[in-house]
Symmetry: C2
Protein backbone atom coordinates (compact mmCIF):
# COMPACT_ATOMS: atom_id res chain seq x y z
CA UNK A 1 0.00 0.00 0.00
CA UNK A 2 1.25 3.48 -0.91
CA UNK A 3 0.42 6.54 1.06
CA UNK A 4 1.07 10.12 0.00
CA UNK A 5 1.96 13.09 2.17
CA UNK A 6 0.38 16.53 2.00
CA UNK A 7 0.98 18.44 5.25
CA UNK A 8 -1.27 21.33 4.20
CA UNK A 9 -4.27 19.23 3.21
CA UNK A 10 -6.54 20.62 5.93
CA UNK A 11 -5.82 24.13 4.61
CA UNK A 12 -7.34 23.15 1.28
CA UNK A 13 -4.19 22.15 -0.57
CA UNK A 14 -5.77 19.38 -2.64
CA UNK A 15 -2.72 18.51 -4.75
CA UNK A 16 0.55 16.64 -4.31
CA UNK A 17 3.88 18.44 -4.19
CA UNK A 18 6.15 17.95 -7.26
CA UNK A 19 8.11 14.97 -5.88
CA UNK A 20 4.97 13.17 -4.68
CA UNK A 21 3.16 14.00 -7.94
CA UNK A 22 5.99 12.51 -9.95
CA UNK A 23 6.04 9.38 -7.79
CA UNK A 24 2.27 8.98 -8.03
CA UNK A 25 1.87 9.59 -11.76
CA UNK A 26 5.22 8.62 -13.30
CA UNK A 27 6.42 5.79 -11.05
CA UNK A 28 3.15 4.25 -9.87
CA UNK A 29 1.31 5.25 -13.08
CA UNK A 30 -1.85 6.34 -11.30
CA UNK A 31 -4.53 7.70 -13.58
CA UNK A 32 -7.29 10.31 -13.24
CA UNK A 33 -10.22 8.70 -11.43
CA UNK A 34 -8.03 6.29 -9.41
CA UNK A 35 -8.17 6.30 -5.62
CA UNK A 36 -5.18 7.19 -3.47
CA UNK A 37 -4.52 7.33 0.27
CA UNK A 38 -2.90 10.33 1.94
CA UNK A 39 -1.88 11.61 5.33
CA UNK A 40 -1.32 15.13 6.58
CA UNK A 41 1.21 13.91 9.17
CA UNK A 42 -0.99 15.57 11.79
CA UNK A 43 -3.13 12.58 12.74
CA UNK A 44 -5.44 12.10 9.76
CA UNK A 45 -5.60 9.67 6.86
CA UNK A 46 -7.53 10.65 3.73
CA UNK A 47 -9.07 8.60 0.97
CA UNK A 48 -9.10 10.65 -2.24
CA UNK A 49 -9.66 10.34 -5.96
CA UNK A 50 -7.26 11.81 -8.55
CA UNK A 51 -8.83 14.64 -10.57
CA UNK A 52 -5.76 15.48 -12.73
CA UNK A 53 -2.97 12.94 -13.06
CA UNK A 54 -0.36 15.62 -13.74
CA UNK A 55 3.20 14.45 -12.91
CA UNK A 56 4.08 18.02 -11.83
CA UNK A 57 0.95 18.75 -9.80
CA UNK A 58 -1.41 15.85 -9.23
CA UNK A 59 -4.75 17.13 -7.96
CA UNK A 60 -7.35 15.15 -6.04
CA UNK A 61 -10.72 15.35 -4.27
CA UNK A 62 -11.10 14.01 -0.75
CA UNK A 63 -13.66 11.23 -0.31
CA UNK A 64 -13.20 10.42 3.38
CA UNK A 65 -11.14 11.34 6.42
CA UNK A 66 -10.08 8.97 9.20
CA UNK A 67 -8.51 10.16 12.44
CA UNK A 68 -5.70 8.11 14.00
CA UNK A 69 -6.43 7.80 17.72
CA UNK A 70 -3.82 9.50 19.88
CA UNK A 71 -1.70 7.18 22.06
CA UNK A 72 -1.94 7.15 25.86
CA UNK A 73 1.79 7.91 26.05
CA UNK A 74 4.37 9.91 24.17
CA UNK A 75 8.03 9.22 23.48
CA UNK A 76 10.59 12.00 23.20
CA UNK A 77 14.22 11.02 22.70
CA UNK A 78 16.95 13.66 22.99
CA UNK A 79 20.13 12.28 21.46
CA UNK A 80 23.59 13.49 20.62
CA UNK A 81 24.30 13.33 16.87
CA UNK A 82 26.79 10.64 15.87
CA UNK A 83 30.07 11.37 14.09
CA UNK A 84 28.79 9.36 11.14
CA UNK A 85 25.54 11.01 10.03
CA UNK A 86 24.19 7.76 8.48
CA UNK A 87 23.83 6.39 11.98
CA UNK A 88 21.59 9.18 13.25
CA UNK A 89 19.50 9.02 10.07
CA UNK A 90 19.12 5.30 10.65
CA UNK A 91 18.04 6.03 14.24
CA UNK A 92 15.35 8.42 12.99
CA UNK A 93 14.06 5.89 10.45
CA UNK A 94 13.81 3.05 12.96
CA UNK A 95 12.22 5.13 15.73
CA UNK A 96 9.58 6.45 13.34
CA UNK A 97 8.77 2.87 12.28
CA UNK A 98 8.55 1.74 15.92
CA UNK A 99 6.66 4.84 17.01
CA UNK A 100 8.09 8.12 18.34
CA UNK A 101 6.62 11.57 18.92
CA UNK A 102 9.62 13.85 19.13
CA UNK A 103 13.36 13.78 18.52
CA UNK A 104 15.74 16.45 19.73
CA UNK A 105 19.37 16.46 18.70
CA UNK A 106 21.45 17.64 21.63
CA UNK A 107 24.87 19.19 21.78
CA UNK A 108 26.76 17.74 24.73
CA UNK A 109 30.28 18.30 26.01
CA UNK A 110 31.52 15.21 24.13
CA UNK A 111 29.43 15.67 20.98
CA UNK A 112 31.84 15.50 18.07
CA UNK A 113 29.45 16.76 15.44
CA UNK A 114 27.13 19.61 16.30
CA UNK A 115 25.82 20.26 12.82
CA UNK A 116 23.27 18.10 11.10
CA UNK A 117 20.98 18.60 8.17
CA UNK A 118 17.55 18.80 9.72
CA UNK A 119 15.98 18.82 6.23
CA UNK A 120 17.58 15.43 5.60
CA UNK A 121 16.24 14.02 8.90
CA UNK A 122 12.75 15.35 8.12
CA UNK A 123 12.91 13.59 4.77
CA UNK A 124 13.91 10.30 6.43
CA UNK A 125 11.08 10.70 8.94
CA UNK A 126 8.47 11.40 6.21
CA UNK A 127 9.60 8.38 4.26
CA UNK A 128 9.47 6.12 7.34
CA UNK A 129 6.04 7.50 8.32
CA UNK A 130 4.70 6.64 4.86
CA UNK A 131 6.42 3.24 4.84
CA UNK A 132 4.93 2.26 8.20
CA UNK A 133 1.48 3.75 7.40
CA UNK A 134 1.36 6.27 10.22
CA UNK A 135 -0.63 9.50 10.27
CA UNK A 136 1.62 11.48 12.61
CA UNK A 137 4.97 12.90 11.60
CA UNK A 138 7.23 13.20 14.65
CA UNK A 139 8.63 16.61 15.52
CA UNK A 140 12.37 16.86 14.92
CA UNK A 141 13.94 19.80 16.71
CA UNK A 142 16.96 21.79 15.64
CA UNK A 143 20.15 21.07 17.56
CA UNK A 144 19.64 22.08 21.19
CA UNK A 145 22.17 22.74 23.94
CA UNK A 146 22.28 20.13 26.70
CA UNK A 147 21.61 22.87 29.28
CA UNK A 148 18.38 23.85 27.50
CA UNK A 149 16.97 20.34 27.19
CA UNK A 150 17.59 19.43 30.86
CA UNK A 151 16.04 22.60 32.23
CA UNK A 152 12.67 22.17 30.49
CA UNK A 153 9.98 19.53 30.13
CA UNK A 154 7.19 18.14 32.22
CA UNK A 155 7.80 14.56 31.12
CA UNK A 156 8.89 11.44 33.02
CA UNK A 157 12.57 12.21 32.54
CA UNK A 158 15.43 9.72 32.19
CA UNK A 159 19.11 9.90 31.39
CA UNK A 160 20.76 6.77 29.99
CA UNK A 161 24.08 6.42 31.72
CA UNK A 162 26.16 3.31 32.09
CA UNK A 163 28.25 2.89 35.20
CA UNK A 164 29.01 0.21 37.74
CA UNK A 165 26.47 1.54 40.23
CA UNK A 166 23.53 1.71 37.92
CA UNK A 167 21.27 -1.28 38.32
CA UNK A 168 17.97 0.50 37.50
CA UNK A 169 16.75 -0.26 34.01
CA UNK A 170 14.49 1.97 31.92
CA UNK A 171 12.09 -0.98 31.69
CA UNK A 172 11.64 -1.07 35.48
CA UNK A 173 11.75 2.70 36.05
CA UNK A 174 9.31 3.95 33.41
CA UNK A 175 5.62 4.00 34.42
CA UNK A 176 3.12 3.11 31.66
CA UNK A 177 0.88 5.73 30.01
CA UNK A 178 3.25 8.64 30.51
CA UNK A 179 5.00 11.30 28.53
CA UNK A 180 8.66 10.25 28.44
CA UNK A 181 11.86 12.09 27.74
CA UNK A 182 15.06 10.05 27.51
CA UNK A 183 18.51 11.58 27.08
CA UNK A 184 21.04 9.56 25.07
CA UNK A 185 24.65 10.68 25.22
CA UNK A 186 27.39 10.94 22.61
CA UNK A 187 30.02 8.29 21.85
CA UNK A 188 32.16 9.64 24.73
CA UNK A 189 29.07 9.60 27.03
CA UNK A 190 27.76 12.43 29.20
CA UNK A 191 30.32 14.09 31.46
CA UNK A 192 29.92 13.67 35.25
CA UNK A 193 28.89 17.36 35.39
CA UNK A 194 26.18 16.81 32.77
CA UNK A 195 24.93 13.78 34.70
CA UNK A 196 24.77 15.83 37.91
CA UNK A 197 22.93 18.65 36.15
CA UNK A 198 20.35 16.22 34.79
CA UNK A 199 19.83 14.58 38.19
CA UNK A 200 19.34 18.01 39.78
CA UNK A 201 16.63 18.71 37.22
CA UNK A 202 14.67 15.59 38.13
CA UNK A 203 16.05 13.14 35.57
CA UNK A 204 16.42 9.53 36.73
CA UNK A 205 19.57 7.66 35.79
CA UNK A 206 18.72 4.43 33.95
CA UNK A 207 20.50 1.60 32.21
CA UNK A 208 19.32 0.15 28.90
CA UNK A 209 20.56 -3.34 29.70
CA UNK A 210 23.85 -5.11 30.11
CA UNK A 211 25.17 -4.56 26.59
CA UNK A 212 27.40 -1.68 25.61
CA UNK A 213 25.38 -0.04 22.84
CA UNK A 214 26.30 2.51 20.23
CA UNK A 215 24.58 5.90 20.56
CA UNK A 216 22.04 5.24 17.81
CA UNK A 217 21.33 1.71 19.07
CA UNK A 218 20.80 3.03 22.61
CA UNK A 219 18.31 5.59 21.30
CA UNK A 220 16.40 3.00 19.34
CA UNK A 221 16.43 0.51 22.24
CA UNK A 222 15.08 3.21 24.60
CA UNK A 223 12.26 3.98 22.15
CA UNK A 224 11.36 0.30 21.71
CA UNK A 225 11.51 -0.35 25.48
CA UNK A 226 8.96 2.44 26.12
CA UNK A 227 6.84 1.15 23.24
CA UNK A 228 6.83 -2.36 24.74
CA UNK A 229 5.91 -1.06 28.21
CA UNK A 230 2.77 0.48 26.73
CA UNK A 231 1.85 -1.82 23.86
CA UNK A 232 2.82 -4.83 21.76
Amino acid sequence: MNIFYQPHLHEGRFFLDPEESRHCVKVLRKKTGEEIRLTDGKGSFYRAVITTADPAKCTFTVLAVEEELPRSYSIHIAISPTKNSDRIEWFVEKCVEIGIDRITLIECENTERAYLRKDRLDKVAISAMKQSIKARLPVIDEITKFADIVSGGQEAKFIAYVDAENPVTLKSAAPPNSAYLVLIGPEGDFTPVELQTALQHGFKKVSLGTSRLRTETAGMVACHTLQLINAG
Copy 2:
Protein backbone atom coordinates in the same frame (compact mmCIF):
# COMPACT_ATOMS: atom_id res chain seq x y z
CA MET B 1 38.33 0.07 25.35
CA ASN B 2 39.61 -1.97 22.42
CA ILE B 3 39.25 -5.69 22.19
CA PHE B 4 40.96 -7.95 19.67
CA TYR B 5 39.66 -11.15 18.13
CA GLN B 6 41.57 -14.40 17.76
CA PRO B 7 39.14 -17.31 17.24
CA HIS B 8 41.92 -19.93 17.49
CA LEU B 9 43.43 -18.66 20.72
CA HIS B 10 42.58 -21.79 22.70
CA GLU B 11 44.43 -23.85 20.09
CA GLY B 12 47.61 -21.96 20.92
CA ARG B 13 47.46 -19.30 18.24
CA PHE B 14 49.05 -16.51 20.29
CA PHE B 15 49.20 -13.87 17.60
CA LEU B 16 46.80 -11.50 15.84
CA ASP B 17 45.78 -12.00 12.23
CA PRO B 18 47.17 -9.44 9.73
CA GLU B 19 44.26 -7.00 9.87
CA GLU B 20 44.08 -7.08 13.67
CA SER B 21 47.88 -6.79 13.93
CA ARG B 22 47.84 -3.71 11.72
CA HIS B 23 45.04 -2.14 13.73
CA CYS B 24 46.81 -2.88 17.02
CA VAL B 25 50.32 -1.76 16.05
CA LYS B 26 49.81 0.81 13.28
CA VAL B 27 46.51 2.45 14.21
CA LEU B 28 46.50 2.16 17.99
CA ARG B 29 50.34 2.28 18.20
CA LYS B 30 50.55 -0.45 20.82
CA LYS B 31 54.12 -1.34 21.81
CA THR B 32 55.82 -4.53 22.96
CA GLY B 33 55.13 -4.95 26.68
CA GLU B 34 51.73 -3.24 26.56
CA GLU B 35 48.63 -5.07 27.68
CA ILE B 36 45.76 -5.88 25.35
CA ARG B 37 42.36 -7.53 25.75
CA LEU B 38 41.15 -10.27 23.44
CA THR B 39 38.25 -12.59 22.89
CA ASP B 40 38.05 -15.92 21.10
CA GLY B 41 34.37 -15.35 20.26
CA LYS B 42 33.65 -18.62 22.04
CA GLY B 43 32.88 -17.25 25.48
CA SER B 44 36.28 -16.19 26.85
CA PHE B 45 38.02 -12.87 27.35
CA TYR B 46 41.82 -12.83 27.64
CA ARG B 47 44.20 -10.32 29.17
CA ALA B 48 47.53 -10.53 27.35
CA VAL B 49 50.82 -8.70 26.93
CA ILE B 50 52.36 -7.94 23.52
CA THR B 51 55.64 -9.82 22.95
CA THR B 52 56.33 -8.56 19.40
CA ALA B 53 54.59 -5.42 18.17
CA ASP B 54 54.80 -6.52 14.53
CA PRO B 55 52.15 -4.82 12.32
CA ALA B 56 51.95 -7.99 10.19
CA LYS B 57 51.87 -10.52 13.03
CA CYS B 58 51.56 -9.14 16.52
CA THR B 59 52.39 -11.85 19.08
CA PHE B 60 51.31 -11.93 22.71
CA THR B 61 51.38 -13.98 25.91
CA VAL B 62 48.19 -14.63 27.83
CA LEU B 63 48.11 -13.34 31.42
CA ALA B 64 44.58 -14.26 32.43
CA VAL B 65 41.37 -15.78 31.09
CA GLU B 66 37.86 -14.79 32.06
CA GLU B 67 34.79 -16.79 31.04
CA GLU B 68 31.61 -14.95 30.10
CA LEU B 69 28.71 -16.66 31.86
CA PRO B 70 26.26 -18.28 29.47
CA ARG B 71 22.79 -16.74 29.38
CA SER B 72 19.70 -18.56 30.61
CA TYR B 73 18.11 -18.10 27.19
CA SER B 74 19.15 -18.08 23.57
CA ILE B 75 17.90 -16.05 20.64
CA HIS B 76 17.85 -17.42 17.11
CA ILE B 77 16.35 -15.25 14.38
CA ALA B 78 15.73 -16.71 10.93
CA ILE B 79 15.17 -13.88 8.49
CA SER B 80 14.71 -13.39 4.78
CA PRO B 81 17.47 -11.28 3.26
CA THR B 82 16.37 -7.81 2.16
CA LYS B 83 16.63 -6.54 -1.42
CA ASN B 84 19.06 -3.89 -0.21
CA SER B 85 21.93 -5.74 1.46
CA ASP B 86 22.85 -2.75 3.68
CA ARG B 87 19.66 -3.37 5.58
CA ILE B 88 20.44 -6.97 6.48
CA GLU B 89 23.99 -6.00 7.47
CA TRP B 90 22.53 -3.32 9.69
CA PHE B 91 20.21 -5.95 11.23
CA VAL B 92 23.20 -8.18 12.02
CA GLU B 93 25.12 -5.30 13.61
CA LYS B 94 22.25 -4.20 15.83
CA CYS B 95 21.28 -7.72 16.95
CA VAL B 96 24.87 -8.52 17.89
CA GLU B 97 25.00 -5.32 19.96
CA ILE B 98 21.69 -6.14 21.67
CA GLY B 99 22.59 -9.82 22.08
CA ILE B 100 21.84 -12.70 19.70
CA ASP B 101 23.07 -16.29 19.47
CA ARG B 102 22.29 -17.33 15.95
CA ILE B 103 21.11 -15.82 12.68
CA THR B 104 19.86 -17.86 9.74
CA LEU B 105 19.11 -16.26 6.40
CA ILE B 106 16.10 -17.96 4.90
CA GLU B 107 14.92 -18.25 1.34
CA CYS B 108 11.15 -17.88 1.25
CA GLU B 109 8.70 -17.84 -1.63
CA ASN B 110 8.75 -14.02 -1.73
CA THR B 111 12.47 -13.55 -1.03
CA GLU B 112 13.77 -11.27 -3.77
CA ARG B 113 17.44 -11.81 -3.09
CA ALA B 114 18.67 -15.30 -2.30
CA TYR B 115 22.37 -14.53 -2.45
CA LEU B 116 24.25 -12.78 0.30
CA ARG B 117 27.90 -12.55 1.18
CA LYS B 118 28.18 -14.51 4.40
CA ASP B 119 31.83 -13.38 4.75
CA ARG B 120 30.58 -9.79 4.84
CA LEU B 121 27.97 -10.60 7.51
CA ASP B 122 30.60 -12.42 9.60
CA LYS B 123 32.80 -9.33 9.42
CA VAL B 124 29.94 -7.09 10.55
CA ALA B 125 29.22 -9.50 13.43
CA ILE B 126 32.86 -9.61 14.55
CA SER B 127 33.10 -5.83 14.50
CA ALA B 128 29.85 -5.46 16.50
CA MET B 129 30.98 -8.12 19.00
CA LYS B 130 34.23 -6.21 19.61
CA GLN B 131 32.41 -2.86 19.73
CA SER B 132 29.95 -4.08 22.35
CA ILE B 133 32.61 -6.04 24.34
CA LYS B 134 31.07 -9.47 24.02
CA ALA B 135 32.89 -12.79 24.18
CA ARG B 136 30.54 -14.82 21.99
CA LEU B 137 30.35 -14.47 18.24
CA PRO B 138 26.88 -15.43 17.03
CA VAL B 139 26.59 -18.22 14.49
CA ILE B 140 25.52 -16.99 11.06
CA ASP B 141 24.23 -19.76 8.84
CA GLU B 142 24.41 -19.96 5.09
CA ILE B 143 21.16 -19.28 3.27
CA THR B 144 18.66 -21.99 4.20
CA LYS B 145 15.42 -23.04 2.53
CA PHE B 146 12.24 -22.16 4.41
CA ALA B 147 11.22 -25.85 4.38
CA ASP B 148 14.46 -26.81 6.16
CA ILE B 149 14.27 -24.21 8.91
CA VAL B 150 10.64 -24.99 9.80
CA SER B 151 11.16 -28.74 10.00
CA GLY B 152 13.97 -28.62 12.56
CA GLY B 153 14.63 -27.07 15.94
CA GLN B 154 13.72 -27.79 19.54
CA GLU B 155 13.24 -24.14 20.40
CA ALA B 156 10.19 -22.12 21.46
CA LYS B 157 9.20 -21.38 17.88
CA PHE B 158 7.44 -18.28 16.55
CA ILE B 159 6.53 -16.91 13.17
CA ALA B 160 6.01 -13.15 12.87
CA TYR B 161 2.97 -12.64 10.72
CA VAL B 162 0.77 -9.60 10.52
CA ASP B 163 -2.90 -10.02 9.83
CA ALA B 164 -6.19 -8.78 11.12
CA GLU B 165 -6.77 -11.84 13.31
CA ASN B 166 -3.46 -11.82 15.08
CA PRO B 167 -3.72 -10.22 18.50
CA VAL B 168 -1.02 -12.35 20.21
CA THR B 169 2.24 -10.46 20.66
CA LEU B 170 5.68 -12.03 20.93
CA LYS B 171 6.03 -10.24 24.27
CA SER B 172 3.03 -12.08 25.72
CA ALA B 173 3.67 -15.44 24.00
CA ALA B 174 7.37 -16.00 24.75
CA PRO B 175 8.17 -17.65 28.10
CA PRO B 176 11.32 -16.39 29.86
CA ASN B 177 14.51 -18.48 30.07
CA SER B 178 13.95 -20.37 26.84
CA ALA B 179 15.66 -21.08 23.57
CA TYR B 180 13.76 -19.03 20.98
CA LEU B 181 13.50 -19.23 17.24
CA VAL B 182 11.64 -16.44 15.45
CA LEU B 183 10.95 -16.43 11.70
CA ILE B 184 10.87 -13.04 10.00
CA GLY B 185 9.51 -12.92 6.47
CA PRO B 186 10.53 -11.04 3.33
CA GLU B 187 9.18 -7.68 2.16
CA GLY B 188 6.23 -9.49 0.53
CA ASP B 189 5.67 -11.51 3.75
CA PHE B 190 5.31 -15.27 4.12
CA THR B 191 2.79 -16.92 1.80
CA PRO B 192 -0.34 -18.47 3.35
CA VAL B 193 1.16 -21.91 2.53
CA GLU B 194 4.39 -21.06 4.37
CA LEU B 195 2.39 -19.85 7.35
CA GLN B 196 0.39 -23.10 7.38
CA THR B 197 3.57 -25.19 7.13
CA ALA B 198 5.11 -23.33 10.08
CA LEU B 199 1.97 -23.73 12.20
CA GLN B 200 1.91 -27.47 11.42
CA HIS B 201 5.49 -27.69 12.69
CA GLY B 202 4.62 -26.15 16.04
CA PHE B 203 5.39 -22.49 15.34
CA LYS B 204 3.14 -19.94 17.03
CA LYS B 205 1.93 -16.96 15.02
CA VAL B 206 2.86 -13.71 16.75
CA SER B 207 2.63 -9.99 16.13
CA LEU B 208 5.50 -7.60 16.90
CA GLY B 209 3.18 -4.72 17.75
CA THR B 210 0.83 -2.43 15.92
CA SER B 211 3.35 -0.81 13.58
CA ARG B 212 4.10 -2.04 10.10
CA LEU B 213 7.83 -2.70 10.26
CA ARG B 214 10.41 -3.29 7.56
CA THR B 215 11.94 -6.78 7.52
CA GLU B 216 15.19 -5.74 9.22
CA THR B 217 13.35 -3.63 11.82
CA ALA B 218 11.03 -6.56 12.59
CA GLY B 219 14.03 -8.84 13.14
CA MET B 220 15.72 -6.36 15.44
CA VAL B 221 12.49 -5.66 17.35
CA ALA B 222 11.97 -9.43 17.86
CA CYS B 223 15.51 -9.78 19.19
CA HIS B 224 15.14 -6.82 21.57
CA THR B 225 11.71 -8.00 22.76
CA LEU B 226 13.18 -11.39 23.77
CA GLN B 227 16.13 -9.65 25.37
CA LEU B 228 13.78 -7.45 27.45
CA ILE B 229 11.69 -10.46 28.55
CA ASN B 230 14.80 -12.00 30.05
CA ALA B 231 16.91 -9.04 31.15
CA GLY B 232 17.29 -5.26 31.21
